[in-house]
Structures are given as structure tokens and as C-alpha cells.
């Protein structure tokens, strides 16, 4: 157990847990209505929050923070959920219940940077509360009775002992043996502290799919050897080209234009996550221009045709009438073009064969083998295996006629 002297600058897990427990017990005693009471699951969430909060505070203390005013508990709903092994909705519901009970006094949503929770000061204060001291072993047995362990793999109630004295775990090998130095509260390497295979230190992890933010990343857009300025210029050039060809009449203000550039960066260029040389990007840009030209020609063919406004046309989530769809269209067109070219070449070869048979044409003094070699050489310049196969078939037909 933590000594009283050290308690001033250190949040003892067991004391904090006892306070949590007594807080919830006293709350449950006061309320008879089932909807107001906190059940075992709410208790587990509360304990999870207190444990992680205590870790956060202790880490702040070891880093030299005086904590004159208690900071809030910064976390993410998804990481709490994965810590507890439930859904985000459950965590939100539990937090609502805990707020109603007065366990959580305040909550602020910070969007991408997660949430900040303030816990009742009765639980997180450095002086001992005048609550009755419970026997820990009886607490554990009571909790074990309350929870069905087969259903949920809950954290053990007393973490302090296990984190300090678990000889079987690899915890002690990772920390310095110096007295008073504690584990970093959120060390991602240590996930098996209690021996249970649970990820315990995940709550400072960022949410898995943070929203794109081009402003922040502008400086880091470097894709191996290609300057970010060059890549961003590609985005701007592309938008200029699109504006001239597809949206000649549209007028946009600065914020609207910025939004569209961000969308193009995300959807058309895939945030430049794909590595490529400068030459590759220029090649891709050429293809993009061709795709835009294709759309513009398609629009010109019929006055009733339209494309979505730019903020929708380039939206990454637009699966229905977005610019992304033109890629398939472009591929189809390119394949068709090749097919037609191949057919023309083979027709040309066939007429030469016919002329050769009649003793006419350019190659009338050549032998059949020489003609075949000449034509094969000509066609091999296109580097298209399919074309050569087709040619061989047609030659076979011509010879056997």
C-alpha cells in the first residue's frame, strides 16, 4: 500500500478505487429506482475511467506537473470502448448514467482530439475521505460475485498490487529499478501488466480514422523525392483546368475554393499516400486531364447532361456521380481505342497478304516468309501481345485460304 507521505503527490490506485466503490454504493443506497441505480457494468466503466485517469495524473506528476488545479481526463470514446470490450454507444450510455449519478461532473467534446471528462472531486483529491475502510479481499470476492466473468473479461479491482508486485509479468524488467520511478502511465509496449491479455493502455491512442486535414499536412506531403510544393501545385493546376473546362460560369469564394482543393487532394490524389516519382505524377496528371476532357466532351454532346457541383463531384464519399467513376470509363475507352487500332492494323496486314497473293503491291517481290517477318516487326513496335496473337490467327487464315 502507498504510504501516507507519498499520497500527497501520488494518486494511489487502491484508495481511488475504494472511493469510487463507496461513492457508487452510497448512490445506490439512496436510489431505489432501478433506472437511477448504477449496475455492475456502470461500475466497471467507472473503474476503468478512474484507473486511466489516475494513470494520466500520475504521469503528469512524474513529468513534474504540480497539478494545483486538477486537469480533466482526456480520452477517446472508441479507445475506452476497446479497452472495456464493448461498443462506443455503450460507453456513451454509461457516461450518461454516471453523469446523472454525479460521478462525472462535466464533459467536453473536443471533436478530433477526443473528449475531456471531469470526475467528482470527492474521488480525486489528495486527502483521505472519511469513508469506512473496506477489506479489499472481501471487496474482490463481492465484485466477483456481482460480475459474471464468463461474459466479460473485467479488469481486476486492485491494480496497484499487481502492477507493482506481479513477479510473473515482464513489467519489472522494463522499468528502472530505482525506487519511486513508476511506469509510464501510457506505455504502449506494456499491455500484459495484469497477466490478463487485455490492452490496457490504449486510451491515449488517436481514433483510427482521423478526419483529413490538408492544412496540417501541407508541410509533410513529401512523397519520396517529390517536393510537397510540386504535389500541391498539381492539385491547384488540376482544379484550374477543371474550373475552365467543366465549371466556366461558377464563382467561388476563398473558403469554398479551399474546401474543393482539400476534397480533390483527398479523393483524386488519395492524399498522396501512394509513393511515386515526379514522372509518375506527371503521367497521372495527364490521365486526369484526359478524363476531364472526356467529361467535357460528354457534356457538350447533349445540353441536358450535367455534372454535380464541385464540392460534391470531388467528394471522397460520392460513389454515385463523383469524378472517381470516370476512371473506369477512361479505362474502358482506352481498351476500346486499342481494340479498334488492332483491328485496323490487322485489316491492313490482310490486304497486303491479298495483294501479295495476286502479285501486286509493295511487297510483290518478297517471299511469304519475308512478308510475314516484315509485318511482324512492324506490329511488334506496339508492344501488345494481344495484337501479335490476333495477327498470327489472321495470317493462319490467309495462308490456308
Amino acid at each position: 500500500m502507498e504510504s501516507k507521505q507519498a499520497a500527497k503527490a501520488y494518486y494511489d490506485f487502491s484508495t481511488v478505487f475504494q472511493r469510487t466503490k463507496s461513492f457508487i454504493d452510497s448512490h445506490n443506497e439512496k436510489h431505489t429506482n432501478l433506472k437511477e441505480r448504477l449496475n455492475a457494468n456502470h461500475r466497471a466503466t467507472a473503474e476503468l475511467i478512474t484507473r486511466l485517469y489516475a494513470k494520466q495524473l500520475n504521469k503528469a506528476i512524474t513529468l513534474g506537473d504540480t497539478l494545483e488545479e486538477l486537469p480533466g481526463f482526456k480520452t477517446y470514446n472508441p479507445s475506452l470502448a476497446s479497452c472495456k470490450g464493448c461498443t462506443v454507444r455503450t460507453i456513451i450510455n454509461h457516461k450518461e448514467r454516471l453523469k446523472a449519478a454525479g460521478f462525472i461532473i462535466k464533459e467536453i467534446h473536443r471533436g478530433k482530439s477526443g473528449i475531456e471528462i471531469w470526475i467528482n472531486p470527492a474521488i480525486f483529491h489528495t486527502q483521505q475521505l472519511s469513508t469506512t475502510h473496506n477489506e479489499i479481499s472481501s471487496d474482490i470476492s463481492q465484485i466477483i460475485c456481482d460480475f459474471d466473468q464468463r461474459v466479460k473479461n473485467l479488469h481486476p479491482l486492485v491494480h496497484e498490487q499487481q502492477e507493482q508486485k506481479n513477479n510473473n509479468s515482464n513489467v519489472d524488467k522494463l522499468i528502472t529499478p530505482e525506487e519511486g520511478v513508476r511506469l509510464s502511465a501510457h506505455n504502449p509496449n506494456i499491455t500484459s501488466v495484469t497477466g490478463t491479455l487485455q490492452e490496457q493502455d490504449m486510451n491515449t491512442r488517436k481514433s483510427r480514422n482521423p478526419a483529413p486535414d490538408v492544412q496540417k499536412r501541407n508541410g509533410q506531403l513529401d512523397a519520396q523525392g517529390v517536393g510537397s510544393a510540386f504535389l500541391l501545385q498539381l492539385v491547384r493546376d488540376f482544379w484550374k483546368y477543371v474550373q475552365i473546362t467543366l465549371y466556366p460560369d461558377i464563382l467561388l469564394s476563398e473558403p469554398e475554393e479551399t474546401e474543393i482543393l482539400n476534397l480533390i487532394w483527398a479523393s483524386v490524389y488519395r492524399k498522396f499516400k501512394i509513393k511515386g516519382s515526379k514522372k509518375d505524377w506527371i503521367g497521372y496528371q495527364e490521365i486526369l486531364y484526359k478524363r476531364v476532357d472526356m467529361v467535357s466532351r460528354w457534356l457538350d454532346r447533349n445540353p441536358n447532361r450535367w455534372v454535380a457541383p464541385p464540392h460534391l463531384y470531388f467528394h471522397p464519399e460520392n460513389k454515385r456521380n463523383g469524378f472517381d467513376k470516370t476512371y473506369q470509363w477512361f479505362l474502358k475507352q482506352e481498351i476500346l481505342k486499342k481494340e479498334i487500332r488492332n483491328q485496323i492494323l490487322i485489316q491492313k496486314a490482310a490486304t497486303e497478304w491479298k495483294a501479295h497473293k495476286k502479285g501486286e503491291g509493295k511487297y510483290r517481290y518478297k517471299t511469304r516468309l519475308q512478308l510475314f517477318r516484315i509485318q511482324q516487326q512492324c506490329l511488334s513496335q506496339y508492344h501488345d501481345q494481344r495484337l501479335l496473337d490476333l495477327y498470327e490467327k489472321s495470317v493462319y487464315k490467309m495462308v490456308n485460304l
Partner: protein, 86 residues
């Protein structure tokens, strides 16, 4: 119903009506309660309001940034958006 908040809105639209009166509208920049404000969404919504619900009632409308000495973002005259250099 949630109304735009003049203190937190990112842009505002001053509309000069045909009858000589004028009124300021504030943009509503969020998709949902906790979403990140999106200024261009607010501007698009203001434009939509001008072109549909207030159609034919105003002569000039100007969208500004909602701050002191805020920049002019867009200008509309007689139902048409006019070119404006930002």
C-alpha cells in the same frame, strides 16, 4: 429547431431588400451538433436561402466573414452572383 448563433457563426449575409429595408442573416456552419464547422457549407446555405426562399425580394446581398473588419466573400446582385476578387 436550432438557429444560427450570431456569436459563433463563421459568416454573415447582409441583404438589402427591394423595399429599402436591410437585414443580416448568420450562417449555420455545422452538419450536426458536434461536427466541425465548415465555412463553405455555411456560405452555400446562405446562397441557397437567397436563391430560393428570398428569391425576388432582394436587390443586393453581400456575404462577409463574421468578425470585425471581416473580408467580403461573395456578392449577389438582382439574383445573380457577381464576380468578386478576394
Amino acid at each position: 429547431m436550432v438557429h444560427p448563433d450570431p456569436t459563433s457563426a463563421l459568416s454573415k449575409c447582409v441583404v438589402y431588400f427591394n423595399d429599402g429595408k436591410s437585414r443580416t442573416f448568420y450562417s449555420f456552419d455545422k452538419k450536426h451538433k458536434n461536427s466541425k464547422p465548415n465555412q463553405s457549407l455555411g456560405i452555400r446555405r446562405l446562397e441557397k436561402m437567397l436563391m430560393t426562399s428570398l428569391k425576388g425580394t432582394w436587390e443586393t446581398a453581400i456575404i462577409y466573414e463574421n468578425m470585425k473588419n471581416g473580408k467580403e466573400l461573395a456578392k449577389f446582385k438582382n439574383g445573380v452572383r457577381v464576380f468578386y476578387y478576394s
